[in-house]
């Protein structure tokens, strides 16, 4: 049933605004798109002079998680039942899929749609549809645990 007991409209909007501010800052100061999969992928491409800002962005993400969890550990609760095998398969698919499709939720879903990019809009529709189908299969067919 839809009773929306976990819906957090205000916190999610505030968090979204912060993500937008971070992405806007990266554009204005670095001239870069704040796509996490693109930033991470670039570390592995090892272009001279194009690595340190990427590493520092990822270190910032990690530091935020470390600092925030000291005060709000509940914000990192998993809340779903996934085996190690499922997490590994999921991680591999996200890693390969985002490189092949050149973007993820941030690069396509926020920055790309924000730039009114047709490519990113198509990509976002594509990953939203398959994510919804996957959740349907896991929750309705497999009983919510895999």
């Amino acid at each position: 049933m839809t009773n929306m007991e976990s819906f957090t409209p205000i916190a999610s909007t505030i968090g979204g605004l912060l993500i937008g501010i971070a992405a806007a800052g990266l554009l204005l100061f670095h001239g870069r798109i704040a796509g996490i999969s693109g930033i991470a992928g670039g570390i592995f491409r090892r272009e001279p002079g194009d690595i340190s800002w990427r590493v520092m962005f990822v270190v910032g993400l990690l530091a935020a998680g470390f600092g925030w969890h000291l005060f709000f550990p509940q914000d990192y609760a998993v809340g779903i039942d996934r085996s190690t095998v499922a997490l590994v398969v999921a991680g591999l698919m996200v890693g390969i899929g985002t490189q092949l499709g050149s973007g993820c939720t941030s690069g396509h879903g926020v920055c790309g749609i924000g730039r009114l990019s047709k490519r990113s809009t198509v990509a976002t529709v594509s990953f939203m549809i398959t994510a919804a189908l996957t959740v349907f299969v896991v929750n309705e067919v497999l009983g919510g645990s895999i």
């Binding site: 929306m4 979204g16 001239g31 704040a34 796509g35 910032g60 997490l87 899929g97 939720t105 941030s106």
Partner: protein, 157 residues
């Protein structure tokens, strides 16, 4: 130095935004796609909030700025065509997202928070990213030209 500090701050603000938004909780991601269960529209509010800030800044910057503050030029995606790789890659990503409940940003920042699940997912994700980039480099080395024009020039995000 300032470029590195700026990138660090960008990542930190992004990570805190993800946590406040609830996006570091896989149950909220799954809730967004769970149309037959306890539906949670939060993800849409996160994306709308971010786009609300990003779009006006982006449009103002590309119209009136000659260059970004710390770089000689903007590095923005140039491709406009819709190809199979874009759709197929995104489709594969979506399956992984629905399966694990993490996309790349929340996964990485949750590793910093010490989440064992995020670490398992994140290690596999980086293995996938690294394997793809290595494969691309090997192909480029063999043909002597960029096998992945997208990666060589500019990717979308």
């Amino acid at each position: 130095m300032k470029v590195k500090v700026g990138a660090f701050l960008g990542g930190a603000v992004f990570g805190i935004g993800l946590a406040i938004a609830g996006m570091t909780q896989p149950s909220k991601i799954i809730g967004f796609f769970d149309f037959f269960g306890d539906y949670d529209p939060s993800l849409a509010f996160v994306m709308l909030g971010a786009i609300l800030v990003y779009t006006p800044v982006y449009r103002w910057a590309i119209r009136t700025w000659q260059r970004p503050i710390w770089a000689p030029a903007f590095s923005l995606p140039t491709r406009k065509d819709i190809d199979g790789r874009l759709i197929a890659g995104s489709a594969i990503f979506g399956v992984g997202w629905g399966l694990g409940g993490y996309c790349p940003g929340p996964a990485l920042t949750s590793v910093g928070a010490g989440s064992r699940e995020a670490f398992t997912f994140g290690a596999a994700m980086l293995l996938g990213v690294g394997a793809y980039q290595l494969f691309t480099r090997i192909r480029e080395g063999r043909t002597g030209r960029p096998a992945d024009a997208q990666a060589a020039a500019m990717i979308d995000g």
